[in-house]
Symmetry: C2
Subunit: 100 residues, 2 copies
């Protein structure tokens, strides 16, 4: 378990905080899965797959980016998203282990 008393522990806690709050919304979980399975997606592709408006999806995307669960990259006027699969897995695995 991370310790509040070390810089590393603090960062880990902050990370967990962002990640679990990002995963708390069903649409965000879906976005994450969807981007993961497709490998790469631009904002429009993602937005088109969900019921909510594009701006709303856009905010979900920035939430996920802030949590470092997604990476963005600009390409012309498009924004390319990719899932940070390694982080997602490592955090989930880590927390699985806490309960072993």
């Amino acid at each position: 378990m991370p310790k509040l008393s070390t810089a590393k522990g603090l960062r880990e806690i902050q990370l967990a905080d962002n990640i679990f709050s990002a995963l708390a919304h069903p649409t965000r979980r879906q976005i994450l899965l969807s981007v993961h399975y497709r490998g790469v997606c631009n904002a429009g592709e993602i937005a088109s797959r969900f019921d909510c408006s594009w701006p709303t999806t856009s905010r979900h995307l920035s939430h996920l980016v802030k949590a470092e669960l997604l990476w963005v990259q600009s390409s012309g006027r498009e924004r390319i998203y990719r899932a940070n699969t390694r982080l997602i897995q490592s955090v989930l695995q880590q927390w699985t282990q806490y309960f072993e």
Copy 2:
């Protein structure tokens, strides 16, 4: 991945929703770990370990119970909590696998 079109899938989605929203709060994650490591805890023991008021902790507890991450059992005037380690692990593992 669970499907919205089947009863089982729907239940799984609902489960994930409760679980991830329960895990979204740092205090609730701490409670969960704390109860897990101690094996069994009554409400007072748990409440005493956190900064927030007992009623606030109590609400966190019911949130966790609703998500089935904790089990409660009454014993006299005490309420005994236990972590549903199996569920926690299976959900986290499941989601880890989605990203494999």
